[in-house]
Amino acid sequence: MLKFSFWDILSNLLIATEWTIILSLIAFFCGGIVGLILLFMRTSGVKPLEWFTKSYIEFFQGTPLLMQLFLFFFGIALFGVEVSPWMAATLALTLWTSAFLTEIWRGCVESIPKGQWEASATLALTYIEQMRYVILPQAARIAIAPTVGFSVQVVKGTALASIIGFVELTKAGTMLNNATFRPFLVYSLVAAIYFCLCFPLSWFAKKLEGRLNAAR
């Protein structure tokens, strides 16, 4: 059996961390784009669109992320398409993220006074233009802090991709543990790396929130 030094373990974990970061970034940005589209649908006032987004959000917020990963992993395969853990993980995490972001952003949009909608409607702006030029620029200011805060959940959520076999930080930890039989060390390091990824984001979110409250 190979002998693993502390540095071997750490460097292997750090290499896998790259995938945790990549998966987080993809889920966060793609989830943000999908979330923005859903936000437009959710606040459009068009009943079928609202009903669809509501159910979508209910499903992704009301079932375990792990189940969603399983469903995508085994569900896509039913169509005869070869599914890699990578594909299932990015898809599930993207949609999961989009549901939460839509809900966070909807709260921000709804906190914009009704008068802003009416004044812009009176100026002949369409719904999309109202959102684009009047509502979203104002909502974005309030949305930044909770959005950054949610990015922490995304990073942590990627850990579940390990369960369907995608090799990122947590999976690498499990593999290294099986090879070294040093679970205390390995999982301490894994936790420490996640902490280093997440804590700055949490801290930044809190900072932003404080600044926004002070500005009011």
């Binding site: 008068g115 802003q116 004044a119 100026l123 002949a124 200011r141």
Partner: protein, 242 residues
Amino acid sequence: MPLVSIRDVRKSFGALEVLKGVSLEVEKGDVVAIIGRSGSGKSTLLRCINGLEAYQSGAILADGIEVGGLHANLRELRRHVGMVFQQFNLFPHLTVAGNVMLAQTVVNKTPKKEAREIAAEVLAKVGLSEKMDAWPSQLSGGQQQRVAIARSLAMRPKVLLCDEITSALDPELVNEVLRVVEQLAKEGMTLILVTHEMRFARDVGTKLVFMHHGRVHEQGAPKEVFAAPKTPELQQFVGSVA
């Protein structure tokens, strides 16, 4: 043809009937002052005219466009029907110029440079040339309301709706706004204003409309109506506000 014609409009909020068959004709150049008790339906009527509220029956034609139609072209309508609100509703994330230019550039696709020239012109008209690059939060209430008026004027509306535009202002700021409106009236702008300023309604208005319980209860030339109200309700109302 009248610029705005309202025919037997009914409007309910749930079980509450707020407009119970309102009819009104507004000619080009008219300055219509709508008065009446709180809850008589003045704001609702105004909001129906530019499609902010939907009505259940009757018809409103503004500049030839049917407002309540199933496929009403609200965008086209609102390009020609401006509205100023009690609470100003300036866009806080845009400068004064940004507020005035927004609809021009987005809706009318006016080039930025030209839009800014128009902004300068309408801001001059409301006496705020030097505030072009200020932020709404830096302005007094009266100044904000004048920007809101300029914002509507920039669209070159054929008719301007004003809903109690001085009610949220400190008393000493009321006149600067009223003077702007008076000037617009002199220039021939068609105005429909809901107001509690009786003297202004009498002196500037060409037509007075008294609303009561969701109906046009009495209307006519302001000076005559004020001098000799026919209905007891208007007599009482005039007595209570005088």
